[in-house]
């Protein structure tokens, strides 16, 4: 296998809760390779989102949270990087898609101006260039009427369309790593399939490593190469998707899998 793009070593995140610090992420380590789709699964509150926020450097500042461990993006330790240096990396080498497409775009600006802003900021594109690049990017995420979408305000777009605009923004600079935090949870099943297909296709095309956070094991089976199973802040199992579903190595994983089969075949 190729050299890992992102190496997480012994990451711990402590969050302040009622005056004391409780571990939300408890010493996890994993590798993410170029072009792969790695699933991070687990129940609500197991620390999936906090892991993502720690990697992005978006956790609330101390003393609300504390973080230790290495976050190594192609040789740079993001955990010790200054905020200004981190800003250059965010959106260019490392980007993120959030859970809620309804609020992920600023309601007072058009989708196009927000997407073009990414090109202007990280590529230094001029207005006309940024517009062209934006239209191009919107076509890549499956919009046939990209110029019209460019002029639309977020409230004029459906949830699936908005999430694809957000995806276009996240993938605009062909990042090395994309973190998708339950990107399709609030979408219906058909839209979900469409967005996920686009997401994984784009990742494969540009060699982006994708960390897909989800609690949906169906999504894991269909779209991911490997999976990390997280429980109470720890990674309890790390395996290829095939192996995970055929012979789960951990009791918690087995329990998770059986919970799915119970609910889908009553």
């Amino acid at each position: 296998m190729t050299e890992a793009v992102l190496k997480i070593r012994n990451l711990r995140v402590l969050m302040q809760d009622a005056g004391r610090m409780v571990p939300a992420v408890d010493g996890i380590s994993f590798d993410l390779h170029a072009g792969e789709v790695l699933a991070l699964v687990g129940e609500s509150g197991c620390g999936k989102t906090k892991t993502a926020e720690a990697i992005m450097g978006l956790l609330p500042r101390a003393p609300a949270s504390l973080q230790t461990g290495r976050i190594d993006l192609e040789g740079t330790d993001l955990a010790v990087l200054a905020e200004s240096a981190l800003r250059k990396i965010r959106g260019r080498d490392l980007s993120m898609v959030f859970q809620e497409p309804l609020t992920a775009l600023d309601p007072v600006f058009t989708a196009g101006s927000q997407l073009a802003g990414v090109f202007r900021r990280h590529r230094g594109s001029s207005g006309a260039q940024a517009r062209e690049q934006s239209i191009n990017m919107l076509q890549r995420v499956g919009f046939s009427d990209a110029p019209r979408v460019m002029q639309s305000y977020p409230h004029q777009l459906s949830g699936g369309m908005r999430q694809r605009v957000v995806l276009a923004m996240a993938m605009a600079c062909r990042p090395r790593v994309l973190i998708a935090d339950e990107p399709t949870t609030s979408l219906d099943v058909t839209t979900q399939a469409q967005v996920l297909t686009q997401l994984t296709d784009l990742g494969r095309d540009s060699g982006t490593a994708i960390l897909l956070i989800t609690h949906d094991l169906g999504v894991v089976a269909q779209y991911c190469d490997r999976a990390l199973v997280m429980h109470q802040g720890k990674i309890v199992e790390q395996a290829t998707v095939d192996k995970l579903f055929r012979s789960p190595g951990d009791d918690y994983t087995a329990e998770l899998l059986s919970a799915v089969s119970r609910s889908t075949s009553p």
């Binding site: 959106g91 600023d106 309601p107 900021r121």
Partner: protein, 281 residues
Amino acid sequence: MTASNRIWANLRRDRSGMTGLVIVMAFFLIAAGVWLGLLGQGWSLADGGRWEPASAEYWFGTNVLGQDIFQRAIFSVRTAFDIGLLVALLSTALGAVLGAIAGWYSNSWIDGSVLWLKGVLDSIPFYLFVAAVAFALQGKPWAMHVAMIATFWTTTGRLVRAEVMKIKSRDFVLSARAIGLPDLLILARHVLPNTSHILLVQTSIAFVAAIKTEVILSFLGLGVQDGVSWGLMLAESTQEVLAGHFNNFLSASLMLFALLMGFNLLADALQDAFDPAQVSV
């Protein structure tokens, strides 16, 4: 339909709002006429007799010095607009900036300082404060402006602070950070524009408040020092009314009433038209 189209459509359906708009526009045209030097230029000329009644030459009659009351009332529209616009724009801008910073860094020492300042300013009786500022600035014509701007921003600041605290937890702000925008740029470009409905309404409220306050301050002798204003006309009229001459009193108070009424109607309608529940998501 774009947001501004929808706001305009909302406003047009509102009959009292449209009445307000027409009144305000009419006053604005008068003020523009005075600014351009077309109207009310003879306000200080004392060429009539004392207390002449309304006539073809002096539409509203003359005052004790023989000055044309109509010209003075018209020129006062400009005085009112000068003060209203300046105070409304600056105090709202100050409130927006301080409120946004306080809300963005809520629960920090910055937020604490802004809230403390607001608390102090709100706890001083307003006219006492103006008198103190006027005294400190010794006859400077803009003492009144400074006093109003320094106190009027507090309401806007409080509203913007609350709105910013709400907006900053929305995903698009987190997304903006995930894309690599610096904090102050996110605040200026993505958070403040989302408070525009508050700013617009607050500007219109501050405009009315500033004009009203100017009249009261001028009446008390703390306001307009050079020029004429409805407040000065009312101050003149206190003696005249006792002598049975109502022209000064009536023209100043009716003009003031019409402008404030029109503006309040417009502001109410704007508040409805900009209701964020109908404009944004």
